[in-house]
């Protein structure tokens, strides 16, 4: 491959516009982490806890519904505050898209994105094949296993909470697990962790199954088949139906729950095919003059 992904977009839109959502995402990930770190590092306790449960300004409880689900399977109902936190988080991700958690909040995303970026720069080809359905099987196993063992099963080894908790409460040897995820994504399996294995992402994917906020290939007739969006997307299988579905009468909204709403496709497209939009705005055809339903 001669040119880098998104080079066209940088040339036409400028560097900042071609990295807009990426930068916003990094800003979101880092500032959430900073809010958590402000307490232990600077003594400013805006937020207590970690991603499993946090309490902001002694007002806002947020509970990871996947951890709560495993705990529930093990036979334990949270206290009032914990339950309230579950409801708030469920509602939020139900609206904005479950895997927004993955791309805008999860600290491991920066690790696996770094692995993906390095993999691309080093030109590492070849990857062990594993179905993208694997994570759903693991999700089922962890919930069933929690019920059988009476232990919040995935929390025993969850790299997401190990990293996040480690940064806030003391890392210990958790860095080895994070390094393992990085090297796994780099050498063993392209987009292996977030795209195939992680049951946290699988859970949030199911949660955002019907979320109204989605990426739309609204200008898909402008697509020049440069393939940059497919190259940059962590879940490339979600793009095709929306981008190439004109002939089959498929609407332009990316409906697949695996889409993380990361917005990288919006960034790297020189033709501005993609934009954030609403699920309902999904006419079968986006060709001018053939519009059905609500247009833009």
């Amino acid at each position: 491959m001669s040119k880098r992904i998104g080079a066209d977009a940088v040339a036409t839109k400028g560097w900042w516009s071609a990295h807009r959502w990426l930068l916003l995402r990094r800003f979101s990930q880092l500032s959430i982490l900073a809010l958590f770190l402000l307490g232990p590092l600077a003594g400013i306790w805006l937020v207590k806890g970690n991603l499993n449960f946090s309490y902001t300004l002694d007002i806002l409880p947020l509970t990871d519904p996947y951890v709560a689900l495993q705990s529930l399977a093990a036979g334990h109902v949270p206290e009032m505050l914990g339950s309230l936190g579950v409801l708030i988080v469920l509602l939020f991700y139900f609206l904005v898209g479950g895997r927004v958690y993955c791309s805008w909040v999860c600290p491991v995303n920066m690790v696996t994105d770094a692995a993906g970026w390095l993999r691309d720069r080093l030109g590492i080809k070849g990857s062990v094949h594993l179905s993208r359905q694997t994570r759903y099987w693991i999700l089922g196993m962890t919930v069933g296993g929690s019920a059988l063992s009476g232990v919040v099963l995935w929390e025993l080894i969850n790299p997401v909470s190990m990293l996040h908790r480690g940064l806030i409460f003391g890392l210990g040897t958790a860095w080895t697990v994070v390094l393992a995820v990085f090297l796994f994504d780099l050498f063993v399996m392209s987009r292996g962790w977030c795209g195939r294995l992680c049951p946290v992402g699988a859970f949030y994917g199911l949660l955002g199954r019907w979320s109204p906020l989605r990426v739309r290939a609204g200008q898909r007739q402008a697509c020049n088949d440069c393939m940059d969006c497919f190259e940059v997307c962590p879940e490339p299988q979600v793009i095709r139906p929306a981008l190439k579905g004109e002939d089959k009468g498929v609407g332009p909204v990316i409906l697949a729950p695996d889409c993380t709403n990361c917005g990288r496709c919006i960034d790297v497209c020189a033709k501005d095919v993609f934009a954030f939009g609403l699920r309902g705005n999904n006419p079968a055809s986006t060709l001018p003059g053939q519009r059905q339903g609500a247009g833009e």
């Binding site: 499993n52 309490y55 509970t63 705990s71 069933g144 409460f169």
Partner: protein, 290 residues
Amino acid sequence: MESNSNKKTLARRQFIFDSARMACGVGMLGLGLGLYAKQSKALPALALRPPGALPEDDFLGACIRCGLCVRDCPYNTLSLARPEEPVATGTPFFTARNIPCEMCDDIPCIKACPTRALDHGLTDINRAKMGIAVLIDHETCLNFLGLRCDVCYRVCPVIDKAITLDMVPNQRTGRHAMFLPTVHSEHCTGCGKCEKSCVLEEAAIRVLPPKLAKGELGSHYRVGWEEQKKAGGSLIDESKMLDLPDRLPEGAVVPGHYDPASGMTATARGVPGSEAGAIPSAPPGLGGKP
């Protein structure tokens, strides 16, 4: 037509094989995790859970590893287990010898817990059961050596209930008393202040999980004097009780002992006219003239 149904069969076979592959692969991962979960329930004896913690089996299912109890502990007693520590990763614990529980009246760690891993019904910290102190080494405890260390007794927040000093004769010197620190499990909260403050290099008193610290009487056991107290009197007709003669070893004389065979009482030592001599091979404390 035939090729179509053939294709269907092939697709079905493929689907079944794919599912089997997933089920087996993920099943193996699950098996490994399950065994790991079983291991993680074995909490090391010196790792103590916060007050009100459910029994370990339930605790690992109820605790969501958020660390709110750690944050609200004013004495930095609690910490979340790191992966290399022998406690389930991310769960709160403390080691009494490092920082014991200060037994706050308002129990902020329980209040902070968003789950029921810490029992919100526990409002009196004196009823906490984080563990039970055990005076584990009678050979090095200074009070057992006949000295008056008493530190564990002095620092106990439930002094004179959870730890008492029980006076017994010092048989080494024959003329002093020993004050043995004695733990009463009914009142001990397992805060660990005794273990923390034990002056020895290695603490002679340690807080252990109740399961390790306590014996248990058979369920059919009844302690006579307690039954008597409950009934308000003897449970048997004492007038019909037979008093069988007690016998001493040949030639032994215990001062003041009534010998039903001869109907005589041995004269107490030191009493004028006493002929009681040295008792042959008598246990210490009984024998020898002063």
